[in-house]
Structures are given as structure tokens and as C-alpha cells.
């Protein structure tokens, strides 16, 4: 079963960041060229070694409309099929961190829930250390440390020690070794000395740390962290991500992390999977992403506002213009237009009035917005 599923991916072509599957409906034309390296997976699609912790192949999830008889029981209804995931392929090796990014409803949590066995896939497979997350869920649950997005998953009436103790005992950790491991896990996340503090009495950020300690306690092969820093202050979030990175690399775990904070995704310097309406829109590292999508804005500062006005007229046809100040013209050039083209259009007179020319990289937020706002069929317009 496993090799069949892995072999299936040999039909897939990785064109840079965009996934295309010959003969199937996909996210529009392949607009990029080149090959994106895939963690732990060889060119023929088979696992290159035993270090691939997460191997997701063709994963799909459709939430079907709720049958009418269910109305008798509860009125939480789905009237139309909801496609949460479609044809998703993701690999994460030991020691690798994969940031899963996407707007609300992109399918991040559905993917995580399939991996921990809380949701069944409609298509494809999700393997964790070679075990099928659906069919071998109990074995997979032993290998996964899960930190859900909500701190409601903690037993708030219990103290920090008891929260971890319960989890550790169910994972079969012997009593004599559990106590030092709990202390170690709490120390790791900066909650040392809080053993007897009730989870209820912790701040939101500290609860997040406690959830992380719980996920780390059993030394899992895979960490699944669903928005781990959502309720943590920026400084704490930075520390927490640094901690996660070092632990993952040190213990050669694999980690899947979702986050809405793009500065954190940048700080992680990890593999990135961009999900959009259940599909993978990009997969690779951030440098790759920027190289493909980030078309820097060019700012021209002139010695006078009249020169800037004239430049505005001359550059209208080659890009989208904005005027941050009266003497500055900012241009988002059209595809194929270079800085040289812009300067040539300004001509010798205006070039003489130039005080400064600068390339301003787009914030990651804008890069992602560009990708998400483009419809699949209009993907080529990104160029």
C-alpha cells in the first residue's frame, strides 16, 4: 500500500513552486520552471531513506452535506460539499520544519487533524514514519506531539504537573522517569517552577508554553503545532519559535507549524507550504518564493515635485504608480520591465533631476496576497 501510494507521485511534476499533475485539473498552467528539491524523497518518488517522517500523497478531504436524518439530532448542518483539501503532497524529513501557511479555511487544520486521526481523509494517504494516519491511527498517535490552536485542550482545573503527568502515563512513561521528564519539559519551555500552578491561572502565553511542553514530553517523531504563537506576545513568540527550532533540529523531530504571523514564518527560515482553498499553491523555501513572486517596487526620488509629476506621466504605461510624497514616484513595474527600462523612459533630463533610486522589496504579506488573490487560471498574471 505504502509503495503504491509513493509510486503514485512519480506522475507528479514539480515546476518550481507550483504543483502540476499531468492529466488532472490543477492550479492553472505551470508558470515557473526548474525543479524544487523534495525532502527525503528521491526522484522516482519513493522514500529516499527512512528519515522521511511525514509523507502526504494526494491527500483530499471533502466534508459531505449532512444527511437529512441528522436534522433530528442536531442543527449544525453542512448543505453543500466543502472541499477542505485537494491533492495535497507534503514531505517533512527528520529535523525539518514545514510552515503551513494559508488564509482561514485554507485546509491547514484539516490536514493536521487527519495526521492526528481526528478526521478521515477522503482521498490519498498521510504517512507518519511509515504508518498510515487513518488506518494505523493508534500507532501514529504514539509518534505525534500535537498542539492544537485552542488552549481549551488543556485540563484547566489541573496544575501544570498533572496536565503533563496524565499525558505521560497514557504514553506508557514509567512513573519513576516521568517526574524528571515533566520537570525537563517545563524547564524547556520556560515554565520551570510552575509545576503546582493551575493551568487556569496561567496567562494565554504560558498556556501555549504548557501545551508545547505537553507535545514535547513524549519525545515525539512529529510535532504538529497549530498556530503555536497565536496568543503569545511578539517577544515570547520569537523565543518560542527559537526554542521549537532548536529542539526539532537537536532531536531530529519533524515539525509542521501553521501560523498567521508572517514575520514568524520568515524567522523560521523553513520549508513553506502555501495552502489556498485546500490546494497547495506553492511549496519551497521563502527565498524561492520571493525569487518567483516578489517583484520589487522601484522608488524614484526627484529634486522637485514638477520633475516627479513629469516622471509620473512617462512611467504610467510601464507600471502601476503611487506617490508616497510629492517628490517621490513609486512604480510596481509590469512583467518584463526592468529598472533599466524605467530609467531609459525617464530620459536624460529627468535622470539629471534624480536624487535617489531604490528597490523596495515587497513585504511577505503582499507577496502572499498576490498569490492568494490571483485565481488559479490567472496565475500567469503573477509574472
Amino acid at each position: 500500500m505504502e509503495s503504491t501510494d509513493l509510486n503514485r507521485s512519480t506522475n507528479r511534476v514539480w515546476n518550481g513552486g507550483l504543483v502540476t499533475t499531468p492529466g488532472t485539473n490543477h492550479d492553472g498552467p505551470a508558470i515557473l520552471t526548474g525543479t524544487l528539491p523534495r525532502w527525503g524523497v528521491s526522484a522516482d518518488g519513493r522514500a529516499a531513506d527512512d528519515e522521511t517522517i511525514v509523507a502526504i500523497r494526494g491527500l483530499g478531504k471533502v466534508y459531505e452535506p449532512t444527511p437529512r436524518w441528522m436534522r433530528l439530532l442536531v442543527r449544525t448542518m453542512i448543505y453543500q460539499p466543502v472541499v477542505a483539501l485537494q491533492d495535497v503532497d507534503v514531505d517533512v524529513p527528520a529535523g525539518g520544519i514545514c510552515a503551513v501557511v494559508g488564509p482561514n479555511g485554507a485546509g491547514k487544520t484539516s490536514m493536521f487533524r487527519i495526521l492526528v486521526g481526528l478526521t478521515t481523509p477522503s482521498a490519498g494517504t498521510a504517512l507518519v514514519a511509515g504508518f498510515d494516519a487513518h488506518r494505523e491511527s493508534p500507532r501514529v498517535r504514539r509518534l505525534v506531539g500535537w498542539m492544537p490552536a485552542e488552549d481549551r485542550s488543556l485540563f484547566l482545573r489541573l496544575n501544570c504537573f498533572d496536565n503533563l503527568h496524565f499525558h505521560g502515563r497514557l504514553h506508557g512513561i514509567e512513573q519513576r522517569s516521568l517526574r524528571p521528564r515533566i520537570s525537563q519539559a517545563l524547564d524547556q519551555v520556560g515554565l520551570g517552577g510552575h509545576e503546582k500552578v493551575s493551568a487556569f491561572g496561567l496567562s494565554a502565553g504560558m498556556r501555549a508554553r504548557l501545551q508545547l511542553a505537553r507535545a514535547l514530553l513524549t519525545r515525539p517523531r512529529l510535532l504538529i503545532l497549530d498556530e503555536p504563537t497565536a496568543s503569545v506576545d511578539p517577544v515570547g513568540a520569537h523565543e518560542l519559535l527559537g526554542l521549537i527550532t532548536s529542539i526539532v533540529r537537536e532531536h531530529r523531530m519533524a515539525a509542521l507549524i501553521s501560523s498567521h504571523r508572517l514575520e514568524e514564518i520568515e524567522a523560521l527560515r523553513s520549508h513553506v507550504v502555501l495552502l489556498d482553498r485546500g490546494r497547495v499553491r506553492f511549496q519551497g523555501d521563502l527565498d524561492e518564493l520571493r525569487a518567483r513572486y516578489d517583484r520589487p517596487r522601484i522608488e524614484f526620488e526627484f529634486s522637485s515635485s514638477s520633475a516627479a509629476d513629469l516622471a509620473g506621466v512617462l512611467l504610467t504605461e510601464v507600471g502601476r504608480l503611487t506617490r508616497p510624497t510629492t517628490r517621490v514616484v513609486a512604480c510596481d513595474p509590469r512583467p518584463g520591465v526592468t529598472v533599466g527600462t524605467l530609467v531609459t523612459r525617464l530620459g536624460a533630463t529627468l535622470t539629471a533631476d534624480l536624487v535617489r533610486v531604490a528597490e523596495v522589496p515587497l513585504p511577505l504579506r503582499d507577496v502572499l496576497a498576490k498569490i492568494y488573490l490571483s485565481t488559479p487560471s490567472a496565475a500567469g498574471a503573477l509574472q
Binding site: Y63, E64, T66, M70, L73, V74, T76, I78, R113, V116, G117, L118, T119, T120, P138, R141, R142, V144, W146, P148, E150, R152, S153, L154, F155, L156, R157, L158, D162, H165, F166, H167, R169, L170, H171, G172, S198
Partner: protein, 277 residues
Amino acid sequence: MRGWPRLRRLARMVWAFARLDATEDFSYPMALLFYLLGAILPAFVYFFVAELFESEGRAASSAVGDYYTFLVIGLAIAALLQSAMTGFGGRLQYAQDRGTFETLLVEPVPWTLIPLLMNVWRLLLGVLTASLLLAVGGLLGADYRLSGLATFAGVVLLGVLASSAVGIISASLLVLAKRSAPVLSLYGLAASLFAGTLFPIDLIPAWLRWISFLVPHTYVIALGRRWFMAAPPQDSVAPDLAVTSLLLFVLVALGLGVPLFSRALQYSRRTGLLSGY
């Protein structure tokens, strides 16, 4: 010896769940205290009811013998079986509402064991409540015979299993419908009415009495009185029939309840209902 590690694992899980629920309950000490006080209050209330009943001279002509002992045994057994029946559903509802149910489901615990594990503490509380009721009843004059204790324990175990099975069926509904307490409350009320907790089932009109035989409480209470009362009332249920019926009930209800619960979880996994409440 091969089963020893599994047994140890099961014991560890039982202990972990019991400890979790106990810690949560003890974190509300006043609520726990009043729960226990409320549970033993009927021993006092029915003491006076029995006094009135016996002062009217009806006891001699009735089939119940010592009415206060009759009542206390019925109440204690009903309290225990009610705990077995509602314990799991109550914990499940609490976990669903609090958001911790999924935390439990991602633990490496077989899902078929969840109903047992989540019921352990409530069951222990039920045993404590029943024991307190019997003890307070004893102090107030209930007259027990303790000779049939081992047999009685076996019957109670069957009753607990049967009631737990009903609770598991109800919990299956809870997983899908998110609320099933009213269904179980209705069943509980019917059980207390038809099981002969407060009066012999012979008083129930014959055309309705068949319902009594569909409720496991009826058999456990009848056998409890038979083995626990110094002067047991005339048997309304033959012991052999009672044990056989209980066994049958356990087999059918557990055989239905455990797969039903498992299927409800699987269905919820597929439809995405699991995280709802």
C-alpha cells in the same frame, strides 16, 4: 504471562483517567461535598416516610417487610446504577463542552476503551454514594443481613455493566447529537419508576409491568433485597431468571453499545462533527 503487559497498561490508563477526574472534582471541594450530602439526604427523607408508613400499620399487610430497609437498599442500588449509566455521558458532555474530548482522543488509547476509562471515577463515586446511603441507613435503623455479600457483588457488577452499556448507547447519541442528557434522564426516571426502587413492582398494573423486566435495575434491586435484607420481601423476580436476564441484557446492550459508540466516533471523524459541541 503474555497478557500481563497489556493488563498493566490497562491498569495504568484506568488509574490515569480516575486520577484526572478525581483531581478535577476535588478542585471544586464545596460542590463535591454537597454532591455527597445530596446523595445521602434520601436516607433521612425516607426514614420519615417509612416511619409514617409503618405508623399507619401498613407494613405488616404489605409485601415489603421492613419498609425502611427496603427503601434504603433500593435507593443505594439505584444510585450506584444511575452513576454507572450517566457517568460516561456526563464526562463526555463535559469534555466536549470544555474542548478536552479531542485531547483524549489523540492519546494512544483504544477508542473502544474510552467509555470504560471515562466512567471509572463516576463509578467509584457511585460506590461511595451507595455505601454512604447504606451506612447512614444502618445508623437510622435499617436492618441488613451481610451473608450474601459475594453473590450480591457479582450481581451488582452485572447491573453496573448493564447500566454502563445503556450509558454507552446514550453516549453514541451524544457524539452525534451533542446532547443526550434528556434521553438518559427519561430512561433514568422510567428506571426509578418501574424498577421498584420505592415500592414493589407488584403494585404496577400488570399491563405495564413488562417494562420493569426491560430495566436492569429491577433485577439488581430485587436480588439486592433478597440477599441484603434480614427479612426479605416475597420474591417478585426469581433469582435464576434475574441473573439470566441480567447476563442477557449485558451481552445485548454491550454488544450493541460498544460498536455503536465506535461507529458514532468514526462517523463524526468523517463528517467533521467531532470537534463540535
